[in-house]
Structures are given as C-alpha cells and as structure tokens.
Amino acid sequence: MKLITLNIVNFRQFYGAHAIEFACDGSLNVTIIHGANAAGKTALLNIFRWCLYGKSILPSPDKIVSNRLIVESTISATLTVSAALAFEHEGDTYYLERSRKFRKFSELKVDPIGASELKLASTGADGQSKTIDNPQDKIRQILPEDIHPYFFFDGEDITSLADAEGKIKDGIRNLMSITVIERGVRHLEGCVARFRRECSEHTSEEAQGLDKRISELEDALQELDGTESNTQKQIGDIQKEKQLLSDQLKKLEPAKDFQFEREKLELRATALANDLAGIQNKLKQLIRSHGALPFLHSAVEEVRGIIEDKREKGNLPAGIKDNFVRDLLSRKLCICSRTLEDGPAREAVERFLCNGAVSAAVENTIQTLAGKLGGIDNDINDLFRGIEDLLSTRHGFEEEKQINNLRLSEIASELKGKDDVKEIAKIENRRSEIEREIQQATLKLGSIQANRVNKRDEITQLRRRLILLSDKAQKAEAAKKRFLYCEEAKNVFQAIYDILIEEARKSVAEKINGVLSRVTGNDFYVELTKEFQLRTLQRIGDFIGEIDKSTGQKQITSLAFIGALVDILREKNDRNHAGSFLRGGEYPIVMDSPFGSLDNIYGPRIARLAANVAPQVIVMVSGKQWLGGIADALYPNIGKQYVLVKNKPIPTTEDLIESKFVFGRTEIQAVKESDKYEFTTIIEVQHE
C-alpha cells in the first residue's frame, strides 16, 4: 500500500477543501507535515482511520463537521464532510472516498443523516477502471483494520506496545495471518461439538434396549416351542392311554355297550363343536360385512323425509309423466279433458304442462334413489333374519350338546358305579382323570399358542421400530466418524498454530534486535518471551541483566518492533507463494509526533531507521520535535513537506513566536490571526 493523495473537505478544523500529495518516489519516501499544537495533526491521523474504516478515536468521534461550516450554514441545511484517499496496492491504483451528510438543527449542532457512504474504484495497470462493490471488505483485504494501528499510530501511545504483551502477540498474530489458523482452531472446535452432539442424538439407548428385548422374546419363543411340543406329546400320550382304556372297556361285557354309545356320542360332540365353531364364524362374518347396516336406518328415513318434503313444496314435481303429457298434447287435449285449439292459448297450456312434467332423467334418478333406499331396508331385514337363523341353529346345537354331555356324564357315572366289576370302575376313574389331564394340557396348549402369537406380534413391532432406528444408527456412525476426523483436524490446526507462533516469536525477536542494534548500537537488546513479553536486556561486564526501560527506550523498542514487523511483511511479500500460510505486503508508516521522548542521539537514529525500513513514511511533527538531528536525519529522504496553518481570531504572542517554521530561506507562520473563525489550512512547502 503506497499512499498517493489525501483530499479533505470540511473535516474538523479543515474547513473547505484541502489536498496533500505524499512523497512516494524511491529514496524520497518521506512526507513531513508540520503543525503547531491543536493545528490538526492528530485530526489528520484520524482522517486516515475514518476514511479507511469509518471510525476515529478523537475525543468526540461524531463531531467531525467543521465548526466554521456549521456556523456559516443556515438551519436545516445539509452539510457534507468527506475524505478521499488515493493509493497504489499490488500494481492497481485505488480511489477511496468516504462522505457523510449532516443536517444543521441549531447554531452549533448537527445531526447525521444516515451512515457514511463509501466508494472505491480501482484502475489496473491496463488503464481499465472499475467500481468495487464491497469497498469495506476490499479495504480490509488491503489493510486489515486490526493491523492498521501498527502503521498509523500516535507517537505518544506507541510506548505502550513495548509494555503490553497482549498487544505484541496480537500484532504478530494479525500481521502474520496466524489469526486465520487460530480462527480455524476455534471453528473446528465448534464443528467437533456439533458432530459430537449429532452422534449422541442418533445413538439411542432405545435401539440397544430393543435389540435386547427382541433377543429375550426370541429366547422365550424357543422355550414356548419346546413347551408346546412337550405338551402336544403329553396330550398324544394321554390320548393313547385313553384309547387303550376305551378298548379295554369295549372288551368288558357290562361296559361294552356304554363304551360304544359313548364313542358315538363323543363323535357327535366333536361334530357339534365343529358345527358351533362354524356358526360362530358365520356370525362373525355376517356382522363384519353387514353389521353397519342397522346404523343406516335413521339416515334412510332422513333421505326419505327430504324427498317427501321437496315433493310437498313443489321442488320435486309430483310426478306427471312426461309421456302422458306428450300423449295429451298430441291429441290436442288439456289435462282437464277440454279440447285445445291451435293458437296462443294452446301454446300457453303446452308450456305450462311441459314445465310441470317431470323429465325422464329426474324421474329415473328419484326412482333409483327410492329403489336403493328400499334395498337398504331389505338388507337390514336380511341381516336380522340371517342373525336370527344362525342364533337359532346355534341354540339347537347347544341344546344337543348339552343333552350329549349329560348322557356322557350318565355313562361315566354308570361305569364308575359298576362295583361288581371293580376293573370297570377303576378303568373309568382313570379315564376321567385322563380327560381332565387332556383338558388341562389343551388349555395349556392354547395359552402357549396365544402367548406365542403375542410375542411374535411384539417382535414384529419391535423390528419395525428397529428398522427406523437403524437409519438413525447409520447417521450416528457417520457423525461419530466426522467428529473424530474433525477433532484430529483441529489438533493438526493447533499444532500448526503452535509452530507458526513460535516461528513468528523467534523471527520477530531477531528482527527487533537487528533494528535495535542499528539504532542503539549494542546498548541493549530484547528477548521476546514465550508469553510474548518484551524483556530489555543489557550486557554488564560478563553478565546479562534485565533493565527497566526509560520512556525513550520504550519508544525505541516499540518503533523497533514496528520496524521489525514492516521488515518481516516485506520479506513475506517478496517470497509470497500459493499455499503459504503467511501473507505479507508493503505498508506505509504514518506517525503522529513520534519523536517526543527521544533525545538527540536516539531521535535521529530512529528517524533514519523509519525512513529506511518502511517504503513510505509520513511524519507529523510540532516545531519542538523538528529540532536537532531529526530534521537532518530525515532530510535526504524528504519528498514533500506541508505546514498546517492554524487560523485563530486572537493568537497569543507565544503562538506567534513559537509557531514560526523556517525552511532554508522560507519562513512560514503556522498560527495566523483570522477574522472570527478558528480553522486550519494546509500549505505545501517547497523542499530545498
């Protein structure tokens, strides 16, 4: 970045339009701006800041309008303040202009009208000009706001750089783009947390619980299968025993007939059970298919009522058949049997009768609807009849079953009571026991089967849920991988950050000492600690000891630090290449009153150093600071010189004496008497 010109309009004490052209030719790279106290040197430094970033660190940052302009303007007038900076950067020329409008609302007060407006245009080496859409972003690219204080600074504040470890570390981080890595670490940490959260969101304990439950159910099903098989075998064995007992009874004369009868009854009981089950199924089927019909009864009645109502009101014709009307008309007869003669009267009757007749389509629709309503009635009746028939049949079967069971009980009692043939009673008792066992085993079998159906249903439901969850499980797996790789990337970033910051610390310390040795000889040198604290060391005999810095030493150290940064950035710029983490550049140094605390030895040295280290130097000095060797030191490099001339209504004698600037044979009075306003003008001094 090489500054070319600065144009100011109505900013603070700079009433009207002013222009400064900066020296930027090779070795003539220094611009000196002289000014008495309160002439506008600090305001000038802030104009750069305001023009570049819309900010200033003046005591009243919003009060940027020239007081003279406010006073001279009428109430409600629109006042404009602007600053325009032309500069070169990486081969292109840029024209940056910031302006802000204000409205005067009282004698000395204005209100801003909206925010400031920023315009940026560039002209390339080919002469093509273009307007830049996002001027603020572009300016931040050229000279990031966080690093500009190291190049545009107030000499009175510069000493704090050497004291504050945070400022040095920030400066190094910002200037060397280490903040890019630092922000990367921070943002990757955020991404790690995101993916970790996503992972835990998708990894549900529910899926693990479901898996466990399904395994339990599958084990239980296997157990049920075993129990069922055993029970069936048990029933089979008992049935065999029962058959054996039945065969024995058939061989015993007193029991023989009973047993044969019983077998027939048992066969019939089995048939009746099947019949009853069949009836039950039919009932279920009927109710399932037609069970809703009875609920339509009231709806059917309602529709009938609506049709009847419409007929009564004449909305639906009462039903004069279309054919009947046409037949009457063809016979030239009225509906009242009178003859219809041709003429208007006949036509009127024809119209009346035709309109009153029901069209075939409407009649058909009504008839169809009535038929369907009747059909529903019939279906309801059929349903009730069907149910009644089935219930009646079931009742018959149940009665027969009861009689059958009664007879079977009688037979069993008869056989148990045959005391004369003890063997029969014994067989029958055993047979009764077996029947109870079969009954119990059958109940058990039913329970097992029902249990198995329930468990299978549960497994089906759980598996469906698990399929849904497995989708989440895949997402959890992906999130876990992302979280782990992100964490690894973050650690890589952190390692790169540590390497870069250490490299920066070493190279900055080396550069500072290089700069210091040129300024101070070997009077003292610095060490940049791992905590980025500048320790000033001095060799005393064979010992090296830390010394307390004087204000002058602090200022030198700070300027040396800035000089080191400028040097490093220039080097980085020279060997800048794609893929490099660090990016350099060339930047001017703009200093307000930088030589305040320097003596006649260090002052000239630091002045010479500044002129040699930075490609362009702009120095704002008061008369007192321009004494001694500083002027001589900078003299060979001065390309441009200006004086800020302060105009005030009543200058003091001191003002008039102390503000006399002498440039060779030229004398300029930097404080002048004005009629009634206080303002500053800028005068260029021809450099001799």
Partner: protein
C-alpha cells in the same frame, strides 16, 4: 528443520480425511479473513466447514 518442514511433518502424520478437512478449513477461513469476527460469521463459517466435513467423511 524449519517451520515449514515442521508443518509438512504434522500434515504428513495426519489421516487423509483430517488433511482434507484442514485444507478445506484454511480455504474457508481465508475467504472470510477480512470480515469482522462476530457471532453470525462464526455460524456461517462453521456451517461451511461442517458441509465440507460431511462431503469428505461420508
């Protein structure tokens, strides 16, 4: 070994996925380098990085 050699060593020892994430993150951070750091920007950058991570790690 100079600092660039050290950085190369760190990257060499990282997994391919982590290297890709590092490169993608640097590009994203560079593209936002000149913007002022604020909450909205942080979310935007994290969204961009997350999208890249999802592309790199399926």
């Amino acid at each position: 070994m100079d600092y660039q050699g050290e950085i190369k060593e760190v990257l060499k020892n990282a997994s391919e996925e982590a290297r890709k994430i590092v490169n993608a993150t640097i590009e994203i951070e560079r593209s936002h380098r000149w913007q002022e750091d604020h909450k909205g920007l942080k979310t935007e950058i994290m969204n961009d990085i997350s999208t890249q991570v999802m592309d790199i790690v399926k």
